[in-house]
């Protein structure tokens, strides 16, 4: 089970943060009708969530590289680290639009 967890953790966290931030955007837009132009707080919250998600991924990746927590050498270690990288890259890439876009429509 820990083997499985090591492999699945980072992508799972990506899936959760991706869906959560998508939902968060919807909720924030309930309060800011149309755009965030006059609502810097909402925009700030989204950016903070984005950074938090990245920080989480970096932490997971870091942990996967620590000898104390890493999987036993061989395939499982390789796959778990690949999973860690997948989570990090996916987080940065798929949530990047937060930096560029500030509308609700």
């Amino acid at each position: 089970m820990t083997e499985l967890l090591r492999i699945l953790l980072a992508p799972l966290v990506w899936l959760v943060s991706f869906s959560a931030i998508y939902g968060l955007h919807g909720l924030l837009c309930e309060t800011a009708e149309g755009s965030f132009a006059e609502f810097p707080v909402q925009r700030f919250v989204l950016l903070a969530a984005f950074l938090l998600a990245i920080a989480l991924q970096i932490t997971i990746l870091w942990v996967l590289y620590q000898p104390r927590f890493a999987a036993p050498a061989g395939l499982l270690r390789f796959v778990s680290r690949a999973g860690g990288w997948t989570g990090l890259v996916a987080t940065v890439w798929t949530l990047f639009p937060i930096v560029a876009l500030s509308t609700c429509t």
Binding site: W14, Y22, E30, A82, T86, A90, W93, L95, T105
Partner: protein, 827 residues
């Protein structure tokens, strides 16, 4: 004992009943895998004939071949049959047939479940085909969007056939997925660690996990839509607090992963066959496993790209557009690993290899058009045109049908024990390849010229006539090609010469046996020390036949195998399988009665069917009980193992974990739906809110807390040698209280037919009640077993399983009660 004598004895133990009767009582994966594949190809032919009808209709402008009503049924059934009755079951069949052989064991984890899944599939599929023969087939497109598919706009029974029939078939997918997951994790040859697993097993494992998390949203959507159609609960009706977009979310939460559920097993076939065709080993095993995993995950973050034109916010568009482009990366990693494998080896152009090349060309084109439609502005132009239909066929035909043809030709000698003889296959491949590309390249083109999908006709002025005619001609070339493949395969089955044992010189375990495969699969189980066992030890097959592996001594009437530790492959327990039985087919017939009663609105037979299912399920599990403590079992090579009935984590526990994973996804999707309606749907807040009750809430919480604690105590006491009868009864009582509070929630849900809020509470309460009932039945079962002496400190496997279900019912019950009562209490 001589090899021949061992063969005779094992065959007597494992064989199904002879003749026709055997089909109904067999639980052997050899039979069921074949039955699955055969049935799936039968449906492929039906789906293919429907495709021909589509192309006949579209061949000329103003076609009078079929009217719109019939045409709608034709394309809906084509899509539905291909996706649900051909593609997924083909994967199930292939995995069921191959996995035990690749993994070096004798059968899958739950043989009776395999049979149950098959019969659910066969009956559910038959329901849909019968509907079609009567001209009342579903006609809302394969994704059944409401409001088109709701009772107001589709009043007939057509849509119900889809919702109920597909849900019935889905049971079989979930059953197979649980089966495959547990088998890959626990049922392997000694020494086969995860690292040494054949690559197909990784793909099967990942695909099965995706089925467990991908299908539940669709099952939920179908249940909700059917409830709306049959009882007027307005989940998707915008004027009553519902939202038709909720369906799109639920459908595509399933629908996008589905595409990868179809592609990944095919990729598994390629990763298995390609190295053999190139006389080398697979390049980048670890990369491929990682890429498949990444693909599985990313595919769950793409669903909104099917909804780019529904007017969702730009940021959402950007998120899902980005995710959709990203998914090309792991796919690319696999493609490059395969190209590298070809580079490394010496490709030989046997028939399977031709189909693999067909796959490469077609799938890469499909992937590129996929990246095109991932770009939002392009998708706005191409959405719902023939360009999309062309794209999806490049991916599905290229990414599934070609690899499966490769697989068929590769494993045909294994199925039949014969050698390819005629050379019809090469010509057939050429026709399929040319026909396919003519058909669908043309459809890209005509789509860009503006031809919408799902139209039954167009006028000459549209300027699409010539291209459509070309496309239709291409589709007939394609059809002739597929017919020739069929003939080729039949000729092979009936006329070809006997082949030698391992005709391709492959290195995976499925070739370490006589072909066609014997009922017992392996005469004795190998000890695995590398990924290419036959490469290292070419004479392995004879050694195993001579009984030199594990479990080489047949014991009277016992179907035996080993289960291993999932990571290391160290032998862990000794497993006895159930023998032939008609229970699965009877159980699925009764399940079918349940669905049919709902469909035909014979509501008085619904409870009958439910009681039937309960009784049969009781018998099903009861037969596993042991009266005495099983002794340690010698399995050969000086190894003795405990029986699975004495394990803390028995196969049934693993099965429950994965079934509950699927169940939890279903529940999560339901909560998502509730939150979605609450925040996004128009028509909120509801006219009346639910009246919270402190008493009901407190009672429910108390029940939900007491029950799992009591079960925990029961496990401890049982381990210490007591008979914790009273603890199990307390758990039963706690869970019953929880169930009653859920029932109260259902009774008091405010006006379920006039607002989606009350309707959702009703469903949530029903979910809680259902699971409380299941957990209560299981506790009751356990209590009965204890009374009659079927448990002991050693025979303890049932306790953790019941505890798991009790815990699940409690946690979900707590969430349900909180969702219903807390908002009112807090405000």
């Amino acid at each position: 004992m001589r090899a021949l004598e061992r063969h005779r004895k094992l065959t007597a133990i494992w064989a199904s009943e002879t003749g026709f009767k055997g089909w109904f009582s067999t639980v052997n994966h050899n039979d069921l895998g074949r039955m699955f594949l055969f049935t799936a190809f039968f449906f492929f032919i039906i789906g293919g004939l429907l495709a021909m009808l589509i192309r006949v209709q579209l061949a000329t402008p103003n076609s009078a071949f079929a009217g719109p009503e019939i045409y709608n049924q034709i394309f809906t059934m084509h899509g539905t049959v291909m996706m649900f009755l051909f593609a997924i079951p083909t994967f199930e069949g292939l995995a069921i047939y191959l996995l035990p052989k690749l993994l070096g064991t004798r059968d899958l984890a739950f043989p009776r479940l395999t049979a149950y899944g098959f019969w659910c599939y066969a009956f559910g599929g038959t329901m849909l085909i019968v509907a079609m023969l009567f001209g009342i087939a579903p006609d809302g497109g394969w994704f059944m969007y409401p409001p088109l598919s709701s009772a107001i706009h589709s009043p007939g029974i057509n849509a119900d056939f889809w919702l109920i029939g597909i849900t019935f078939v889905e049971i079989s997918a979930i059953a197979a997925a649980v089966e495959i997951t547990v088998s890959v994790l626990k049922y392997r040859a000694p020494g086969m660690s995860l690292e040494k697993m054949p690559i197909f097993a990784w793909y099967a494992l990942i695909t099965a996990l995706m089925i467990l998390t991908g299908f539940p949203p669709l099952i939920l959507g179908s249940v909700l839509l059917e409830l709306e159609r049959a009882f007027g609960l307005p989940f998707f009706q915008a004027d009553l607090g519902g939202d038709s977009l909720l369906w799109q979310h639920l459908f595509w939460l399933f629908g996008h992963p589905e595409v990868y559920i179809i592609f990944l097993p095919a990729a598994g076939v390629i990763s298995t066959v390609l190295p053999v065709m190139c006389r080398t080993t697979l390049l980048g095993y670890g990369w491929i496993v990682s890429a498949a995993l990444a693909l599985a995950f990313l595919s769950f973050g793409l669903w909104v790209h099917h909804m780019f034109t529904t007017g969702i916010p730009h940021l959402g568009l950007a998120f899902f557009s980005a995710a959709s482009t990203l998914v090309a990366v792991p796919t690319g990693v696999q493609i490059f690993a395969w190209i590298g494998t070809m580079w490394k080896g010496r490709p030989e152009l046997h028939l399977p290899m031709l189909h693999i090349l067909g796959f490469f060309v077609t799938f890469v084109i499909g992937g590129l058009t996929g990246v095109m439609v991932a770009v939002v502005p392009f998708d706005w132009q191409a959405h719902d045109t023939a360009f999309i239909t062309a794209h999806l066929h490049y991916v599905l035909f290229g990414g599934f049908v070609f690899p499966i043809f490769a697989g068929i030709y590769y494993w045909l000698p294994h199925f039949t024990g014969r050698q390819q003889f005629f050379r019809l296959g090469e010509l057939a491949f050429a026709l399929v390849f040319v026909g396919f590309h003519v058909t669908f390249l043309a459809m890209h083109w005509v789509g860009l010229l503006g031809q919408r999908r799902r139209i039954s006709g167009y006028t000459p002025e549209d300027g699409w006539s010539v291209i459509n005619l070309i496309s239709s001609v291409g589709s007939f070339i394609l059809a002739i090609g597929i017919a020739m493949i069929l003939i080729d395969v039949l000729l092979h089955i009936f006329t070809a010469r006997r082949s030698c044992r391992n005709p391709w010189n492959a290195t995976t375990l499925e070739w370490a046996m006589i072909t066609p495969a014997p009922a017992y699969t392996f005469a004795s189980l190998p000890l695995i020390s590398c990924r290419d066992p036959l490469g290292r030890e070419p004479a392995l097959a004879t050694a195993l036949a001579r009984g030199e592996g594990y479990l080489g001594v047949p014991r009277e009437g016992l179907r035996e195998t080993l289960a291993v530790d999932s990571a290391s492959g160290r032998p862990e327990m000794h497993v006895l399988y159930p023998a032939n039985t008609r229970l699965p087919i009877v159980m699925s017939a009764v399940t079918g009665l349940f669905f049919l009663s709902l469909l035909l609105k014979f509501y008085w037979t619904v409870p009958l069917a439910l009681v039937g299912v309960i009784i049969l399920a009781w018998r099903w599990v009861w037969s596993l009980g042991l009266r005495d403590d099983p002794a340690m079992q010698p399995v050969g090579h000086d190894l003795t193992l405990p029986s699975a009935a004495t394990a803390e984590r028995a196969p049934g526990w693993w099965g429950s974990v994965f079934l509950l994973t699927a169940n939890g996804t279903f529940f999560g999707a339901l909560l998502f739906g509730f939150a979605f309606l609450w925040t996004v749907a128009p028509g909120w807040p509801p006219p009346v809110w639910f009246k919270p009750s402190v008493l009901e809430f407190a009672l429910g919480v108390a029940g939900a807390v007491i029950a799992p604690l009591a079960m925990r105590r029961a496990i401890r006491k049982n381990r210490a040698g007591d008979t914790p009868f009273s603890n199990v009864l307390i758990a039963l009582f706690g869970i019953a209280v929880l169930g009653i509070t859920c029932a109260a929630l259902m009774m008091r849900a405010p006006a379920p037919t006039s607002h989606a809020y009350g309707a959702t509470l009703l469903v949530l309460g029903g979910y809680g009640l259902f699971h409380a009932t299941v957990a209560a039945l299981m506790s009751g079962f356990l209590a009965t077993q204890m009374r009659l002496g079927f448990t002991s400190a050693k025979r303890r496997a049932a306790f953790p399983i019941v505890a798991l279900w009790v815990k699940y019912a409690s946690i979900t019950g707590l969430i349900i009660l909180s969702a219903a009562h807390l908002p009112g209490m807090l405000s």
